[in-house]
């Protein structure tokens, strides 16, 4: 089921949690709402579910206005961060709940319910736990049961609120693949909330980056990572070096415009390192070299401004360059730096435009 969100605003008291959100989710899409805490991503998800009422705007499911329909009418499956399993019921009863509370006319027979529940438990690979209680399960198992329970009512939209937030790293990794797999099998429109950029980029078809109640960018994982729309998206997705002031003006040929403060970002792997100055490099002293695994991470100190930054290169490149050590002087090429108008918190609502992108000739 496709979802169209137009001009949706929700305030808690005087505080606007989401502001004028416009978002189009096509049928069968797998969408991540990504943002730091307080960015309004969970509120947006709860608005879609109908667990919160919206102040203005509309939420349309497949052309039908659902803005003021209640949760029950929306046919959504909702998975909570802390599972919210019914503690006093067995796993079987938990999954069967949505079917058992249907009005008598629509309720499947006892044996149909049983078949359906066992089928779902097979889907989440926990059939053997049917008679246990939630307290006897691990976190990962509980979240899988919570998903099975949500799927039992055959929702047309599946909404997950930080589904893996309470789990440890290894289980989280497993469940990510598993959830993708479930989505591939059922092809149900899925929206999940996360603050973990890696999780969003790895799992979603579409990533919606949010900050301060507004959408900063919508795009495929590759789009938002490689072509971030603004400074916030750039700095939120992945590791990044930030340069301001003198350092920035040494790197790129931009006019010192006093009205607009500029900030430059470059990812560690986009910094070119060389042994000799070839006209575009800024001398820097290696202060820490970490050569563990397939990538080598180097922390360097610029000799011009004494700012620290991080560079990353493959172990192959590291060997080519000739292994260097702490204290060696290298030349760093910031050609790939991306410059944005700086974000100041007081004007975060102001539209941020990219000032300049691409290659700049730097001067030393």
């Amino acid at each position: 089921m496709g979802i169209t969100i137009t001009g949706v605003t929700k305030k808690f008291g005087a505080y606007p949690a989401v502001k004028d959100i416009n978002l189009e989710i096509p049928t069968g899409d797998f969408v991540a709402l990504l943002g730091p805490s307080g960015s309004g991503k969970t509120t947006l998800l709860r608005l879609i579910a109908g667990l919160e009422g919206l102040d203005t705007g509309s939420i349309i499911f497949n052309g039908v206005d659902f803005s003021f329909k209640n949760v029950k009418e929306r046919k959504v499956g909702f998975v909570f961060q802390h599972y919210a399993l019914f503690k006093h019921m067995t796993i079987f009863e938990n999954v069967a709940f949505g079917l058992k509370v249907r009005p008598r006319k629509l309720r499947p027979s006892r044996s149909e319910i049983k078949d359906k529940v066992l089928e779902l438990l097979r889907l989440v690979q926990l059939e053997h736990l049917a008679d246990r209680y939630p307290s006897q399960l691990s976190g990962g198992q509980r979240q899988r049961i919570a998903l099975a329970r949500a799927l039992a009512v055959e929702p047309e939209v599946l909404l997950l609120d930080e589904p893996f937030g309470a789990l440890d790293a290894k289980v989280r990794q497993e469940l990510r693949h598993w959830l993708r797999e479930i989505h591939r099998k059922l092809n149900i429109t899925t929206v999940f909330v996360t603050h973990d950029q890696e999780e969003a980029l790895e799992m979603a078809d579409t990533v919606v980056v949010m900050n301060h109640g507004k959408i900063e960018q919508i795009g495929s994982p590759a789009e938002v990572y490689e072509r971030p729309a603004n400074a916030f998206v750039y700095s939120f997705l992945g590791r990044v070096n930030e340069f301001r002031g003198a350092a920035l003006y040494n790197d790129v040929a931009i006019a010192r415009d006093s009205a607009v403060e500029a900030v430059g970002y470059i990812r560690p792997h986009e910094i070119g390192l060389s042994r000799f100055s070839n006209g575009v490099g800024i001398p820097a002293e290696a202060s820490h070299v970490n050569a563990v695994g397939s990538t080598v991470r180097v922390v360097l100190k610029r000799l011009d401004t004494e700012d620290y930054f991080e560079a990353e290169l493959t172990s192959g490149n590291f060997r080519e360059l000739g292994p260097f050590h702490k204290g060696d002087i290298l030349y760093a090429d910031f050609t790939n730096i991306v410059v944005f108008e700086a974000i100041t918190d007081s004007e975060h609502s102001k539209e941020r435009e990219k000032v300049t992108v691409g290659a700049f000739s730097a001067f030393t």
Partner: protein
């Protein structure tokens, strides 16, 4: 090396344990002694006094018409006050625990008032409100109603006094449980009532029962407030505690203690049931 460390770790613990029995028995002894003097001996005294003149007199005392009527009135009062406070308690606890609104703390404080004020004052307030010289007196007389010095007054006073038990028991339980399970039920298509009976109620049932038991114990045993509004009319407006007092004042000690033993038995039964629930909840 590791083994030696173990020994090291153990030795200070062992010396502490060597001292422990004395401290332990001192503490237990004090507690038991206190319990004996203030609770056990009086309780035994009630039963010995009640049975002193033989079992026949005992039964005669608790089966005479006035005693039976007092038992009946006590049961009626509890049968009205306890369900009222249970229903109100669930509603109030739900409102307080699961919603945020202005004046929530004031409401919680108001709920505690019956615990904070002396029951006698509670009784007097009802007399001032519903008595023939009270604020609502003319209205009550005009409609030929009777509240003070009759059963409705006793029920009102008892309800007032026992009103915080259920709410107080439920608020922390409901707060701890939060609203996620209920929201989950709603997203799965449950109606409000289905949510309440299938998710909310099962989660609070032991706490609720505990509150109801305490509420019931107090409803049957309440003396002060009831004493003020009842008028002590024998066979009509005497509850068990009031009946005990009347008999005692008439130097009818055996009968007085016999009826008191009934109340004591009731309290003991309640406590046994309560312990059973606690054991069951822990399981």
């Amino acid at each position: 090396m590791i083994a030696r460390e173990h020994v090291h770790l153990k030795s200070p613990g062992a010396s502490r344990f060597a001292l422990a029995p004395i401290k332990k028995w001192l503490l237990i002894g004090t507690a038991l002694g206190f319990l004996g003097i203030f609770i056990l001996i009086p309780l035994i005294a009630v039963f010995t006094e009640a049975l002193k003149k033989g079992i026949e007199l005992y039964f005669a005392a608790i089966t005479e018409p006035d005693a039976l009527s007092a038992i009946k009135l006590t049961l009626i009062t509890a049968a009205i006050a306890v369900p009222l406070n249970t229903i109100f308690g669930v509603i109030a606890a739900w409102g307080i625990a699961k919603f945020n609104f202005k004046g929530k703390n004031i409401l919680i404080t108001l709920i505690d008032i019956p615990f904070a004020v002396s029951p006698v004052i509670a009784g007097l307030v009802f007399v001032l409100l519903y008595g023939s010289n009270g604020v609502l007196g003319p209205f009550i007389e005009a409609n030929n109603l009777k509240i003070i010095f009759s059963v409705p007054g006793i029920v009102l006073a008892t309800t007032f006094v026992t009103f915080p038990f259920v709410v107080r028991e439920l608020i922390p339980i409901m707060q701890e449980q939060g609203t996620e399970e209920e929201q989950a039920a709603i997203t799965l298509g449950a109606s409000g009532w289905q949510m309440f009976f299938r998710v909310t109620l099962p989660n609070i049932k032991w706490g609720l029962l505990y509150g109801v038991i305490l509420c019931n114990a107090r409803a049957m045993g309440e003396f002060g407030a009831v004493s003020v509004v009842s008028g002590h009319i024998r066979g009509l407006t005497n509850t068990l505690p009031l009946h005990v007092e009347i008999l005692y004042n008439e130097y009818n000690f055996t009968a007085s203690f016999a009826v008191a033993s009934l109340l004591a038995l009731l309290a003991l039964l309640t406590l046994v049931f309560k312990s059973f629930l606690e054991w069951k909840t822990k399981k």
